[in-house]
């Protein structure tokens, strides 16, 4: 029992198939307290299916999920939300035509008994959040700035800060650096560091090894529904990791050729 308490969330022997396709086979994954897990794999490897199971969107065919050592009998989307498991998607996190303060409190407005919004309070809280967690020190950027006019990295920052503000304990970042420039990617990394500093955990999903390696504490490689590598970063250099990645992918493509 005490051993299980070492992990924030744990998946044991998770299987999931869609029709005849085995999306996940006997997957075991542990996410530690205050740990950044980099989840990497090719398109269709099973990354999103795994995340959807961990956030209650899909239920596993078999296998067990644990939260802080407690077995979760049925994880639903609303239970996951109550536990503080939050997914940040790049394209569906924010409302682009609205200011930052509205986005922060979207769906969780500070209201009185009759549902009227306390706009002043929401703006004040947003300003605090921006100066603190988000690190916007310039006075040129205010809570009234329209989110759609901000850069991609900053937008991710708004979504991550929002999750942290509402005390998320496990943040799933789904391909947060897709299509971002180098400087914007760096900004996303800074926000991931904030998650670390706030003593929260994060699963960082990407198919780009170079985007995962600099910030992850542990790197998990998924391939065809199986976890093929699960290593602490200090066990492996980037070069070695890259080599292994190519081995996995290369071997697979070789297999495909043979069977054909």
């Amino acid at each position: 029992m005490s051993e299980k308490m070492n992990f924030l969330m744990e998946a044991k022997g998770v299987n999931k198939s869609f029709g005849s396709i085995n999306a996940l086979e006997e997957v075991n994954l542990e996410i530690g307290y205050n740990e950044i897990v980099g989840l990497i794999g090719d398109n269709g490897a099973g990354k999103s299916t795994l995340i959807k199971i961990l956030t209650g969107v899909h239920s596993a065919d078999s296998g067990e999920l644990y939260w802080k050592g407690q077995k979760l009998n049925k994880l639903t989307v609303s239970l996951a939300r109550d536990l503080g498991i939050v997914t940040v998607f790049q394209d569906r996190a924010l409302s682009g035509q609205h200011p930052i303060w509205r986005n922060i409190f979207m769906g969780k407005e500070l209201t009185n008994r009759w549902g009227f919004t306390n706009i002043r309070k929401e703006k004040e809280e947003t300003l605090k959040l921006m100066k603190g967690m988000m690190g916007f020190t310039s006075s040129a950027i205010s809570p009234d700035n329209i989110v759609g006019s901000m850069s991609g990295g900053e937008q991710q920052g708004v979504a991550i800060s929002r999750a942290l503000y509402f005390e998320a304990s496990l943040i799933m970042l789904d391909e947060p650096t897709n299509g971002l420039s180098l400087t914007e990617t760096q900004k996303v990394f800074d926000f991931v560091q904030t998650i670390k500093k706030k003593k929260k955990s994060c699963i960082f999903i990407s198919h780009n090894l170079f985007h995962i390696y600099p910030i992850a504490d542990r790197i998990v490689i998924v391939d065809r529904g199986k976890i093929v590598q699960n290593l602490a970063k200090n066990e492996l250099t980037l070069d070695e990791l890259q080599k292994r990645m190519f081995e996995i992918v290369g071997a697979d493509s070789f297999k495909i050729k043979n069977t054909n």
Binding site: R81, T87, F89, D91, R92, A93, L94, S95, G96, Q97, H98, R102, M106, G107, K108, E109, T111, W114, G115, F116, T117, I119, S142, D144, I146, G148, S149
Partner: protein, 325 residues
Amino acid sequence: MMKNRFLRDFINKRKIEIAIGLVFFIMMIVFIIANPVVFLNYRVYMAVFTTLPILIILSTSMVFVIASGEIDLSFPSIIGISAWAFAIIAKAGVNPFLALIVAIIVGSFCGFLNSLLITNLGLSSLVLTLGMNFLLRGLIMIITGGKGISLAFLRNTEIFSIFTDKIGIFPIQMLWAIGFVMINWFLFYRHKFGGHVCYIGDNLMSAREMGISVNKVMVSTFVLMGASSGFVGVLLCLINNQFWPTTGDGYLLIVLAATFLGGTPTWGGIGTIFGAIMGSLILGFLETGIISSGLTGFYTKFFFGLILILALISHRFAGLNKKGK
């Protein structure tokens, strides 16, 4: 310095509203110059205020529907069927206030029906409400056999003096419109409902992701539109002392024009109540202004179109373009 900054922020945030306000202002100055005798006299304003409330109530409620990314083309017939319900109940000798409540319930129910079909079956609101507009109008025609109902007996009764009488020279329905607009304004800007409407229109996926119950909000916007139409149906009956099977028919395009003219964009996600009021004022005064400027009524539609297109261009220059791109 500080003051300047507030002013600059205000102008930045309210560009669309300022632009449309200016259009109205300039238009009125042109009318005053063209015919000072008419436009420096209160009478013309009181005349316009008689029917302006209809336009204001409908266009400010339409802001919600359009900001949510949908549209409602069925409201003219909802006005008609609510007006019909009001007329037959009042004619039967039932308390007309009860008839008013029934009319609003009928309107709300039609909106509810629209929203159920849109949310549960995923139908296109554009086509569904277009169909509903024909369906309900057809229903009224079938039931009434194309005959109107005289409501002259309601003149100078209690319900008439509360809703459509005049205080001195001022039409009371204008006060109801102002009250209605204030409720809509608070709902849109100060209540979480308005926010949720906009988030759904802006990014449906993110609204769902953040736990907003999308279907409930959609139902509420269409019910609001339906209830407004029901109320308007009763107002029209009282203003005209008559129910016509065509009641509400002429309002479809002019209400949409007022909403879009005001700066609520077609793509959803944002909207402006103030703009809808300004749009209603512009269209309300335009016809009177054209005729009293010495042009014939034939020019009305031409200027309606012209001002709509000019307003659209001015929105573009005020920075209103899709998704801030």
